[in-house]
C-alpha cells in the first residue's frame, strides 16, 4: 500500500490543487460527492480536472446548502463550464440510453454486487453513447462506490538528482505493476470512513476506462492479471472500451472471445444515441440555458437542433458541445448579435426543407452539405457499408416517374435494358465511410455479391466489373490514384448489375477467402521449392507434374517434411461439388481485420520479397547451407566459389 501512496500522494495533492482549491473550503461537500472521486483521491491516480468540476456544478444545482458556494463563483467561470459536464445525467430518466440497455447493465450490477466473487463486465459502443454516464448513474442509484483507474501521469524527470530519484523510485514501477496493485488494493481495502460520509457504502465497483499502454502491445499480460483477479476478487469490475472503426479495435485485441469465455466476461454493447432521444436532451438543455441567460442567449430552435443531431451521428457528447458552441453569444459587436439571430433563421429554412426532403425520399446524404458545427464524421461499419451496396436500394416507381419527367427523356429503346432507378446511396460515400481501402472493400464485395444476385447474367456482368476494378488497380505505382476509381467501378458496377432488385432478405456476409488462399498458395509454393530443390525443376513443373505424381509413387522420401508436404499438396480429395470453403462470417460492427496480409502484400508489391521471410518462418531451417545431391559428391564440399 505504502509503495504507491507515498509516491502518488504528492501527485494527488498537486492534482487537487490543479483541480480547484475551493474544495478545501467545503470538505463536507466534497465528501458527499460520489465515492468514485474519493477512490481516486485515495489512490492518487486521478488526473482529470473535468470530472470534479462537473460534480461541483451538479452539486451546485441540486444541493441547496451549496448555494453560497455558487454565489461566490464568478459568472464568468460558470459560463466557461462545458455543458456536457453541467448537464451530465443524474438519474436514469435523464440518461440518453435506451431503457433496455440501462436495465441490462443495472441487472448485471445488481446480480454481481451481491455475490462475493469477482465478475467482469465489458461495455462497448461508439464514443459518446453514454457508457460511462450509465455506469456512474447506476452506481449512484445503487449506492456503490466507483473506483476508477486512470493511467498514472507520473512524469517525474528521470534525470533528477540521485537523491530524488531514490525517493521516488517506488513510483517508477511500471504502469502494469501499478495497475495490478490497484486492482488488488481496491479489492481488498475499503475506503477510509470520512466524516459526513453518507451511509454504509462499502460495496464498490471498479471502473477501468483507460488501459495502460502495455496491454495493447501484450494483451496476454492483461489476461493474466484478470485471471488472478477473477480468482481472488470480491467486487465487480467494469471495463469500458469505445468501438473504433479502424482495424485495431481495442475491445477485440484486449478481450478476444476466448478470454471472454474463459473468464465469463459479460459484454454489453451500446448503440449510438437515437436521434429522438438526443433531440429530447438537446431541447432540454437549450431551454434550460435560455431560461438561465434571461434572453441574452437566443433559444436554438428545433431545426438547428435537428441539424446538430444529424451531424453528430449518435455522439451525444459532441452534440452537446456543438450546441454550446453554436449558441455562444457573440457579445463583441452589435452586429454579431444580429448575425447570431439571422443565422439560425437561414439555416432554419434550409433545415426544414431538408427535413421535408428527408421524409419524402429518405435520402441519407443530406447532412453532408452543411455539416453542423463540430459535426462528427459520419461513419459506417463494414457490415452496413457492404449491405448498402449489396442490397442495392433504389427509389421506387412513384418517385422514379417524377424524377424521369424532371430529367428529360430516358434512354433510347435499344439501351433501355440499362435503365435503372435513381440510387438511394452514394457508393463512393459508402466506401469512404467504411474506412477501408478500396481494394479490401472490393474483396469483401467479391466474397459476398453472388448471394445477392439471382440471374447468371447479372452475376456475369457483376464479375466483369470486379475484374475491371482489379485491372485498374493492378499496377502498384498508380494504385493510390486508381484505387478510388477501382472501387467506384466495382460498387457502381455491382449496383447496376443488380437488375432484378429482388429483396433477398437477410444474407450472412463473409470475410474474403482470397487473402488466406493467396497466402497459402504463396507459402506452399515456396515450401515446395525449398523442400524439393534437389530436383532442380521450375516451380510450375514441380507443382503441376512432379508433386502430384510423387503422391502416387512409392518413392522413398528423404525426410518427414517432404512426405507430409506431398500428402498435403499433391493429393486432392475428390469430393463431388464440395461444400464451400470454411467461411468466416462477418459480424455486425466488426472491423475488417486484414492488417498482416495487407502489409505482406504491399511489401511484396513494392518489391521487397517478403515471401522469402515467410518461407523461413514456416519451414524447417536447413541445418547446413549445403545439401548434397549425391553421396559421392562429399569430396568437393569444401570448395568455395572464390
Amino acid at each position: 500500500m505504502n509503495t504507491i501512496s507515498v509516491g502518488d500522494k504528492a501527485a494527488s495533492s498537486r492534482l487537487n490543487h490543479w483541480v480547484d482549491p475551493s474544495f478545501t473550503d467545503f470538505p463536507g461537500e466534497s465528501f458527499s460527492l460520489s465515492g468514485r472521486r474519493k477512490g481516486s483521491q485515495v489512490l492518487g491516480s486521478k488526473a482529470e480536472p473535468k470530472r470534479p468540476q462537473k460534480r461541483k456544478g451538479e452539486a451546485g444545482r441540486s444541493n441547496p446548502h451549496t448555494l453560497s458556494y455558487l454565489l461566490r463563483e464568478s459568472a464568468q467561470r460558470d459560463q466557461d463550464e462545458p455543458w456536457v459536464d453541467r448537464y451530465s445525467p443524474r438519474s436514469q430518466v435523464e440518461l440518453a440510453v435506451h431503457k433496455k440497455k440501462i436495465e441490462e447493465v443495472e441487472n448485471w450490477i445488481r446480480v454481481h454486487t451481491n455475490t462475493s466473487e469477482g465478475n467482469i463486465l465489458l461495455l462497448t459502443g461508439p464514443s459518446g453513447c453514454g457508457k460511462t454516464a450509465t455506469v456512474q448513474v447506476l452506481a449512484q442509484e445503487l449506492g456503490l462506490r466507483v473506483q476508477e483507474w486512470a493511467n498514472p501521469t507520473n512524469l517525474e524527470p528521470y534525470s533528477s538528482s540521485q537523491h530524488e530519484w531514490r525517493m521516488n523510485s517506488f513510483s517508477f514501477s511500471s504502469q502494469l505493476a501499478q495497475f495490478q496493485d490497484f486492482l488488488l488494493k481496491t479489492n481488498k481495502y475499503n475506503c477510509l470512513k470520512m466524516v459526513g460520509d453518507g451511509g454504509p457504502t462499502d460495496r464498490k465497483l471498479i471502473l477501468v476506462e483507460d488501459f495502460p499502454n502495455q496491454f495493447y502491445r501484450q494483451p496476454g499480460s492483461l489476461h493474466d492479471i484478470l485471471r488472478r483477479f477473477v480468482k481472488t476478487s470480491r467486487c465487480p469490475l467494469v471495463f469500458i472500451v469505445s468501438d473504433s472503426l479502424s482495424g485495431d479495435s481495442s475491445s477485440r485485441v484486449l478481450f478476444p472471445r476466448e478470454i471472454q469465455e474463459e473468464l465469463d466476461i459479460s459484454n454489453i454493447s451500446f448503440n449510438p444515441v437515437a436521434p429522438t432521444t438526443m433531440m429530447k436532451v438537446l431541447t432540454r438543455i437549450s431551454t434550460l440555458e435560455a431560461g438561465k441567460s434571461c434572453g441574452k442567449m437566443c433559444v436554438s430552435d428545433q431545426a438547428v437542433l435537428a441539424t446538430l443531431c444529424l451531424g453528430s451521428s449518435g455522439d451525444i457528447r459532441s452534440a452537446i458541445n456543438s450546441l454550446q458552441f453554436s449558441s455562444l453569444p457573440d457579445t463583441s459587436l452589435e452586429k454579431g448579435l444580429w448575425r447570431m439571430k439571422e443565422r439560425p433563421v437561414t439555416s432554419l429554412g434550409k433545415a426544414v426543407s431538408r427535413m421535408n426532403q428527408r421524409k419524402k425520399s429518405k435520402q441519407t446524404k443530406e447532412p453532408e452539405d452543411e455539416q453542423a458545427i463540430g459535426g462528427k464524421d459520419a461513419s459506417l461499419f463494414l457490415f452496413r457499408a457492404l449491405g448498402k451496396i449489396l442490397h442495392c436500394k433504389r427509389r421506387n416507381h412513384e418517385g422514379a416517374e417524377a424524377a424521369e419527367c424532371a430529367s428529360g427523356p430516358g434512354l433510347p429503346s435499344h439501351l433501355f435494358q440499362h435503365h435503372r432507378e435513381t440510387l438511394l446511396v452514394d457508393p463512393e460515400l459508402v466506401v469512404e465511410r467504411s474506412h477501408m481501402s478500396a481494394e479490401f472493400f472490393n474483396l469483401y464485395l467479391h466474397q459476398n455479391y453472388v448471394d445477392f444476385l439471382s440471374e447468371v447474367e447479372d452475376v456475369e456482368r457483376a464479375s466483369e466489373y470486379l475484374s475491371d476494378a482489379d485491372l485498374l488497380t493492378a499496377d502498384w505505382t498508380s494504385r493510390s490514384t486508381m484505387g478510388d476509381y477501382g472501387s467506384s467501378v466495382a460498387t457502381r458496377g455491382l449496383l447496376h448489375s443488380n437488375s432484378r432488385q429482388v429483396s433477398v432478405g437477410f444474407r450472412p456476409l463473409h470475410k474474403p477467402n482470397w487473402l488466406l488462399v493467396n497466402k497459402k498458395h504463396r507459402e506452399k509454393c515456396l515450401a515446395a521449392q525449398f523442400l524439393f530443390r534437389s530436383f532442380c525443376l521450375t516451380p510450375v513443373s514441380l507443382q503441376t507434374e512432379l508433386l502430384p505424381y510423387l503422391a502416387k509413387l512409392t518413392h522413398p522420401m528423404r525426410n518427414q517434411a517432404q512426405i507430409a508436404f506431398i500428402q498435403d499438396v499433391g493429393q486432392m480429395l475428390q469430393r463431388r461439388f464440395s461444400a464451400r470453403l470454411k467461411l468466416e462470417a462477418l459480424t455486425d460492427k466488426e472491423p475488417g481485420q486484414l492488417e498482416t496480409d495487407t502489409e505482406e502484400e504491399k511489401e511484396k508489391e513494392e518489391g521487397q520479397g517478403a515471401a522469402e521471410e515467410g518461407l523461413l518462418g514456416s519451414q524447417p531451417q536447413p541445418t547446413t547451407n549445403q545439401v548434397l545431391l549425391e553421396e559421392e559428391d562429399l569430396i568437393i564440399e569444401e570448395y568455395t566459389s572464390d
Partner: protein, 356 residues
C-alpha cells in the same frame, strides 16, 4: 533410389535420344572452342535442361556433374536481404532469378558479377569462361532483362550465359539478338514411346507398346510427365496390361470435375461452388494460369463448334487480365461467369429452336 526421370537422364550429347542432329550441332559448337550466349527455349518437358547439362559436360568434362546447392544471401542496395538458392559446380552456376520476385534485377547483377569476376584457375587446361545458367528467363521482369543485357556485354570475356525459357515471346529483343537461339521441340509420340520402352527395359520391365502409346498421348508428349506416368503405372499395377488406366494427377481430375460442374448447371449458387473449388486448386499450388488453361480445355471439349470461338476469345481476354491483374480469383471467376452466361443462352436458344 531415385526417380526414373533422374536415373536415366542422358548425360552426354551423344547419348541423347532424340533431336540427334541438333545434338551434333551443339557438339560442333563446343569443339570450335568458343561459343556465344545461348537462349534455349521450348515447351516444358522437351529436355532443355538435359540438353544444357549435356552441353556443359561436353565443355568441362565430368566435373560439371558434381553439383551442390547453395543458399545465397544477396543484399540489395535498399539493404533488403534476398535469399536465393543456386545450383553450382566448379564451372557453372545455375540460378532461377525469378525466385527473387521483383528483386530479380539485383540477383542477376550480383550473381553474374561474382561469377564473372573470378577467373578460372588453370586457364590452360580449362575453358576461359564459366557458364551461368539462368532458368525461367521469360518470368524475369523487364527491369532485370535490361540489366541482363548490359551484364552480358560487360562480362563477355569471362562468362557465358545460357538462358532457358519456355517461350521467347517474353524475352526482350535486345537479349534475343545477343544470343544464339536454340529451340528444343517436344519429342514426337514415337520418340516418347521409344524412351519409355528403353527405360522400362533398363528397369527390367516389359512395357506393352499400346500402353506406351497411351502414356505418350496422355502426357501430351511431355517426356517428364510421361516418365512420371509410366512410373506411376508401375506402382499401380505390374505386370503392365495393355489397357490399364494411366494415372492422372489429382488436380487434373479435380479441374475436370469443376468444368463438368460448370457445364451441368449455370446458377449463382453453382458459381459459388466453383469458386470454392478454384480456391481449393490454388491452395494446392496450382498456378492460376494453369487453372485457366486447363479449365478452358475441358470446357471447350463440352462445347458446340460455334460456341468454341467465343469461349476461346473470352478465355484469351481473361487470361490476359489474369497476367495484368493482381488478384487471380476475380478473373477466373469472371471467366466462369461469362461462360455460364453464354452457355446458358446457347442452350436456351437451342431449346427454343427445337420447340419450333
Amino acid at each position: 533410389m531415385s526417380l526414373w526421370l533422374d536415373k536415366y537422364r542422358p548425360t552426354s550429347l551423344g547419348k541423347l535420344d532424340y533431336h540427334k542432329e541438333q545434338a551434333t550441332q551443339l557438339k560442333n559448337l563446343v569443339q570450335c572452342g568458343d561459343f556465344p550466349h545461348l537462349l534455349v527455349y521450348g515447351p516444358s518437358g522437351a529436355g532443355k535442361k538435359t540438353r544444357i547439362m549435356c552441353l556443359l559436360r561436353e565443355l568441362y568434362g565430368a566435373g560439371v556433374e558434381k553439383l551442390r546447392i547453395e543458399h545465397q544471401t544477396i543484399v540489395a542496395p535498399s539493404k533488403k536481404k534476398i535469399e536465393i538458392n543456386t545450383i553450382a559446380s566448379n564451372y557453372h552456376l545455375e540460378v532461377n532469378p525469378s525466385d527473387a520476385g521483383n528483386q530479380d534485377r539485383v540477383v542477376i547483377q550480383e550473381l553474374i558479377k561474382t561469377v564473372a569476376q573470378s577467373q578460372q584457375i588453370q586457364s590452360s587446361t580449362q575453358r576461359e569462361f564459366k557458364v551461368v545458367l539462368l532458368t525461367e528467363v521469360d518470368r524475369l521482369t523487364k527491369d532485370a532483362q535490361h540489366a541482363l543485357r548490359r551484364t552480358m556485354e560487360k562480362y563477355m570475356g569471362t562468362c557465358r550465359l545460357i538462358l532457358c525459357s519456355t517461350s521467347t515471346s517474353k524475352v526482350i529483343g535486345p537479349i534475343r539478338s545477343r544470343c544464339l537461339a536454340i529451340r528444343v521441340p517436344l519429342p514426337s509420340t514415337e520418340e516418347v514411346c521409344n524412351v519409355l520402352t528403353s527405360v522400362c527395359k533398363k528397369e527390367g520391365l516389359l512395357l506393352p507398346p499400346e500402353l506406351a502409346k497411351q502414356i505418350s498421348e496422355k502426357s501430351g508428349r511431355n517426356l517428364r510427365k510421361a516418365l512420371l506416368m509410366c512410373e506411376a503405372c508401375r506402382v499401380q499395377q505390374y505386370p503392365f496390361s495393355a489397357d490399364q488406366d494411366v494415372p492422372v494427377t489429382d488436380w487434373e481430375v479435380y479441374l475436370r470435375e469443376t468444368a463438368n460442374a460448370i457445364v451441368s448447371q449455370q446458377s449463382p449458387q453453382r458459381l459459388l461452388e466453383v469458386r470454392a473449388r478454384l480456391y481449393e486448386l490454388l491452395t494446392h499450388c496450382i498456378p492460376p494460369d494453369v487453372i485457366m488453361k486447363g479449365l478452358v480445355t475441358e470446357l471447350l471439349s463440352n462445347c458446340d463448334g460455334q460456341l468454341k470461338t467465343e469461349v476461346a476469345h473470352m478465355a484469351a481476354y481473361y487470361e490476359h487480365r489474369l497476367q495484368l491483374g493482381s488478384k487471380a480469383i476475380y478473373h477466373l471467376e469472371a471467366f466462369t461467369a461469362k461462360f455460364m452466361a453464354i452457355y446458358k443462352k446457347f442452350m436456351e436458344d437451342g431449346l427454343d429452336a427445337m420447340m419450333f
